[in-house]
């Protein structure tokens, strides 16, 4: 059973502790694909920016009576009175979250974690590379880049999805494709006849967009197998390791670096990540026990 909006304000009065969720109402539910929805949640922010987040950060979302999972914030960072999370239904908690409707209440702790290096990327070409639902954590970066287009060099989104039906934010991708001076390439694992775009691994798109490797910052998000192959392909094309950033995922529970569930060598993914500079974690990625 989900909490209703009427209980939300009472619960929020005690919400200053990072371990205590704020209970916030769902204001909109957007069906993205057959198993993925985006939930827009009212933050109660009055416009002072207190409820803001940095692109790349995540919240712990609590489905009342079911459990809590980390979910990246996938909306526009300039909008502070609402937050968007994109949830793929893969287990009991995400399934409960994906079933929430407008007016239902969700527990929110956060935002937590590090963020994409948008300030450092100013003046550089920027490659945003995503696979599968990994497009959600980098969507705030895309909003940011498109609003401050003049601050960056050439920009591109390279996105890999399993099939045409699994493409996230497809309408928005169409809009971005038509945006001048912004390159968007989508590739699929396999495609049916009507698809006229690329089919193959996302690294195959690197040769199809314009960027100067020596002056490029790359932000990569997706399954770890894809992160490893993409980082190597970027370095092969001349992008320095210290300008490649990846978003890591592990089993995050407390989100504050106490419980140790997401320990990754000397790091806690929840606190020191989820965004890491590639050269800081490159060696750890080859240790299979981690």
């Amino acid at each position: 059973m989900m909490m209703t909006s009427s209980r939300a304000s009472d619960a929020n009065t005690a919400a200053l502790d990072p371990m205590t969720p704020r209970f916030l109402p769902v204001t909109r539910r957007i069906r993205e694909t057959a198993d993925t929805v985006s939930l827009e949640i009212a933050t109660g922010d009055s416009g002072d920016g207190a409820s803001g987040f940095r692109p790349g950060q995540f919240n712990m979302l609590y489905a009342y009576g079911v459990g809590e999972i980390p979910v990246s914030i996938s909306g526009d960072p300039a909008v502070t009175d609402r937050m968007v999370h994109t949830v793929r239904s893969v287990g009991p908690v995400s399934e409960a979250l994906a079933k929430l409707k407008r007016g239902d209440v969700v527990g929110v702790r956060g935002p937590f974690g590090s963020s994409w290096p948008l300030a450092e990327a100013a003046g550089f070409d920027v490659l945003v590379i995503a696979g599968g639902i990994g497009l959600a954590p980098v969507r705030p970066v895309l909003y940011h880049l498109l609003k401050r287009r003049a601050a960056y060099g050439r920009t591109a989104l390279l996105y890999g999805a399993r099939s045409q039906q699994d493409i996230l934010y497809d309408k928005q991708l169409d809009v971005w494709r038509r945006t001048p001076d912004f390159q968007v390439r989508v590739t699929l694992n396999h495609a049916e006849r009507e698809w006229t775009g690329d089919v193959g691994h996302v690294t195959g798109l690197l040769g199809k967009v314009r960027f100067d490797p020596a002056d490029t910052i790359a932000m990569v998000c997706g399954p770890e197998v894809m992160l490893r192959s993409t980082a190597l392909a970027l370095m092969d094309s001349g992008v320095p390791a210290e300008r490649i950033f990846i978003s890591m995922e592990r089993n995050m529970k407390c989100a504050t670096g106490f419980c140790g569930h997401c320990q990754f060598g000397p790091y806690f993914i929840c606190k020191d990540g989820a965004v890491f500079r590639y050269d800081h974690v490159r060696d750890l990625l080859t240790i299979r026990e981690l």
């Binding site: 893969v90 696979g131 599968g132 495609a191 049916e192 192959s229 592990r250």
Partner: protein, 157 residues
């Protein structure tokens, strides 16, 4: 109209290749055009040709009964098409369909194999150019077979 040698020299596949070799392999080549949705070859056809794509896109497909054709790779301008001509029984193992108007250079496979067999230096230079795209395609196939985008560690629960 540009001669086949000149067209060949503009393609990344022959970059760095000695002039004599370009001249030699040009003798096996001809200019070809495929209209939208025209098949370059079909599964089980004799693999008589090897192609380098000048402009356009070709979808590599397998027909799945009850579901129709599925594209598992696209090859585009600057890339090569076809590997079955390299190994016996020289039979195409998939369909190749032009997704858009596609201009290519087609090599007669027997002619090219004969030149490689006769002069192993040519054969080695050719092999150095065939192997990298084939390895990349193998790597892509590996990722596809793993369905890596289904890895939902991104939402740990």
């Amino acid at each position: 109209m540009k001669g086949i040698e000149e067209l060949l020299r503009q393609h990344p596949f022959v970059q760095g290749l000695e002039d004599d070799i370009v001249r030699m392999i040009a003798g096996c080549a001809k200019n070809v055009v495929f209209q939208v949705n025209q098949y370059v070859f079909r599964e089980a056809d004799a693999a008589d040709n090897f192609y380098i794509i000048r402009h356009g896109t070709v979808a590599l497909e397998m027909f799945v009964p009850g579901r129709g054709p599925f594209t598992f790779l696209t090859v585009k301008s600057g890339e090569i098409l076809g590997a079955d001509w390299l190994v016996p029984p020289y039979r195409c193992s998939f369909d190749a369909r032009a997704v858009e108007l596609t201009r290519a250079i087609a090599f007669d496979a027997t002619c090219l194999r004969d030149k490689c067999e006769t002069d192993h230096h040519i054969g080695y230079e050719m092999m150095k150019r065939f192997i990298p795209p084939l390895v990349r395609q193998l790597q892509t196939a590996r990722f596809q077979s793993l369905e890596i985008y289904d890895d939902d560690k991104l939402q740990s629960e």
